[in-house]
């Protein structure tokens, strides 16, 4: 795995065509003056962008963009598959291959999506990556399962009801990052989704010990079209070594919890 990667979360939810997306990528490359490794596109990207009619056509276009620009892409969309409605994420590698397709696993707010009973982690040169989607960001079991499967980078798509409440958002990915000692790229959607007004801030997270002021935020949404951060896995490993939360699991207690109580 690469020791340090450059990750970007694009913020503009109105990238409607390939030209605009290419322009964004060019802008990012110029600004950062070096290779971008991983780009997280705003939610709904795979559903409505690029003008193609079917989901597969759209995914093909994103694969080509990833390959052309030599970067990893993360995408999210709500889409229908027969009678079932899914909230799904994809991770596309820099060769244009889809490495991971993950469905949301919880439907706390009963929006009628079909949930998955499977959580996968993709081991890549960008880190070992797992997705948390929608309500999953509020479920601590999800972060833990991903972490126990080796994830050290969470990519999250969050949707918080308006009005914006920072406390609500902090109770999601921020705390999942702290209790699992991973990095996270959280793309939080603002707008209307499934008829509900939602509002959140896109944030790049890390364990408190790795961030300035020990606040757990590496980069936060401002007025720019994207947020960027270098994720240093060497430093993450040092933080874990100094404060090894995972060495102190109480397995007997957890066996009772997940085998008998639940």
């Amino acid at each position: 795995m690469t020791k340090r990667i450059k990750a970007i979360i694009a913020l503009d939810p109105n990238i409607h065509n390939e030209k605009e997306l290419e322009k964004l990528i060019d802008g990012i490359k110029k600004d950062s003056n070096k290779q971008v490794d991983l780009l997280v596109l705003p939610s709904m990207a795979a559903a409505g962008y690029l003008g193609q009619k079917t989901l597969n056509e759209r995914l093909d276009r994103y694969s080509l963009i990833a390959k052309t620009n030599n970067l990893y892409l993360a995408l999210h969309a709500y889409h229908k598959d027969g009678s079932k409605r899914h909230s799904r994420c994809w991770l596309v590698d820099n060769c244009g291959e889809i490495l991971l397709a993950q469905n949301q696993t919880h439907d706390k707010n009963n929006i009628g999506i079909s949930v998955s009973n499977e959580l996968q982690v993709a081991k890549t040169p960008m880190g070992s990556i797992g997705f948390l989607i929608g309500d999953d960001v509020l479920i601590p079991e999800i972060g833990r399962i991903l972490r126990l499967q080796g994830a050290n980078l969470f990519i999250a798509y969050s949707f918080f009801p308006q009005p914006y409440n920072p406390w609500r958002q902090w109770s999601g990915i921020w705390q999942q990052v702290q209790q699992n000692q991973v990095f996270a790229l959280e793309s939080s959607f603002t707008g209307s989704i499934n008829g509900h007004a939602v509002e959140g801030k896109s944030i790049i997270h890390g364990p408190c010990e790795l961030t300035q002021g020990e606040i757990g935020f590496i980069s936060e949404e401002q007025d720019d079209p994207y947020i960027a951060a270098s994720l240093d896995y060497q430093k993450l490993a040092e933080t874990i070594k100094d404060y090894p939360i995972h060495n102190f699991y109480n397995k007997k207690l957890y066996k009772e919890l997940f085998s008998e109580l639940l």
Binding site: T105, H106, D107, K108, V115, S116, N117, E118, L119, D135, L138, I139, P140, E141, R144, I145, L148, Q149, N165, W167, R168, W170, S171, Q175, Q178, Q179, C208, G213, E214, I215, G216, Y243, P244, I245, N247, F248, Y249, N250, K251, K252, L253, Y254, K255, E256, L257, F258, S259, L261, L262
Partner: protein, 346 residues
């Protein structure tokens, strides 16, 4: 250890036990006045979290007096349940000759020899600590007629292990239950402490209470287990050996309360212990939706390094209504959890 040294140690322990005899402590506490906590009659309970400032004492009477003042202040503010921090008898380490507040831990340990661990000191003092602690809190609970979660103390488990154990006293002065710390800090492992493996929930007139300790709140599993065993309030006695940072403290009780829909009370020890600085802001927490500002905070200490007592009312009917609609068991994907857990924990 030489024979003479062993005799010296035994004599010192006997002397300390004599100095800490229950009759002497009770006689002192008899001289105090007591108001009574209102019995809990409804689903509303007033709770207090004591943010205690640690100071070493060389006399158990001093310790009894400090604890008396804390409980008295809390009960006067209407508390029916009073909660204390972790390591709430560390004050008594000052009874050992040569130990002072500003003593450097590493130097103290070096003076004692490389084979001695911090746990050995607490283990040695354990009979004294236990005697003073149980006498004081049993007496105070009975005379104020209040429930007291007295915080935790480092004691011997009787099998040559040193454990961090918290105590709950009822208003008749009896011990309702004990809880061992379930997750250690790396520092505590270095000290030679051992952790427990069982979590208990105690139904009382002031709520169904669990009281795991400090680091246990770092792990969501602790709160999930507590709630699934029936807890409505999870109390966390804490003693954080780190400089204060709002965000680092936020990753303890507060998110656990949000995840598991439960009341949370954190009581912090602050001050100095053997060159280690303890900081923390005590707080009383609830799910976001049950607070006017939607921040989940019912009460929180203003300082992180001074003595304070904070109080708040817990409305169990509100919590139960909230859980009916929003509790995690309404939406948790149990099939998914059981597919991966517990076997992924290695």
């Amino acid at each position: 250890m030489g024979k003479i040294q062993s005799i010296q140690q035994q004599m010192l322990l006997k002397f300390l036990l004599f100095k800490s005899r229950p009759g002497r402590i009770k006689s002192f506490l008899d001289s105090k006045s007591y108001c009574h906590a209102e019995p809990s009659q409804s689903n509303q309970v007033r709770v207090a979290a004591v943010q205690g400032k640690l100071s070493l004492v060389n006399n158990p009477i001093e310790y009894a007096d400090i604890m008396y003042q804390y409980v008295e202040e809390a009960v006067r503010q209407g508390a029916q349940l009073v909660v204390f921090p972790e390591d709430n008898a560390a004050h008594l380490v000052g009874m050992l000759p040569g130990i002072s507040e500003n003593a450097d831990m590493s130097q103290t340990m070096a003076d004692l020899g490389s084979e001695v661990k911090v746990a050995d000191i607490f283990n040695y003092l354990s009979p004294v600590t236990k005697q003073v602690f149980e006498t004081v809190f049993s007496y105070l609970a009975a005379h104020f007629r209040v429930h007291i979660m007295a915080g935790s103390i480092l004691v011997s488990d009787g099998k040559n292990k040193t454990i961090n154990q918290a105590y709950l006293f009822g208003p008749d002065g009896a011990i309702i239950g004990r809880q061992q710390k379930l997750h250690l800090l790396p520092l505590e492992l270095d000290w030679g402490l051992s952790c427990g493996e069982e979590l208990s929930v105690f139904p009382t007139p002031v709520g169904k209470l669990a009281f795991p300790i400090c680091m246990d709140a770092t792990y969501f599993e602790t709160f999930r287990s507590s709630v699934l065993k029936g807890a409505e309030t999870v109390i966390i006695p804490a003693a954080n050996p780190d400089k204060y940072n709002f965000w680092k403290e936020l990753r303890g009780v507060w998110p656990r309360v949000q995840e598991s829909a439960v009341f949370g009370i954190r009581s912090c020890m602050v001050g100095q212990l053997l060159g280690i600085t303890l900081t923390g802001r005590s707080g009383i927490y609830t799910p976001l939706e049950l607070t006017p500002k939607k921040d989940g905070i019912l009460a929180e200490a203003k300082t992180y390094d001074e003595h304070e007592i904070i109080v708040a009312n817990l409305d169990y009917n509100l919590l139960r209504d909230y859980r009916r609609n929003e509790g995690f068991m309404n939406y948790l994907n149990i099939d998914l959890c059981k597919r991966y857990l517990p076997h992924l924990y290695k």
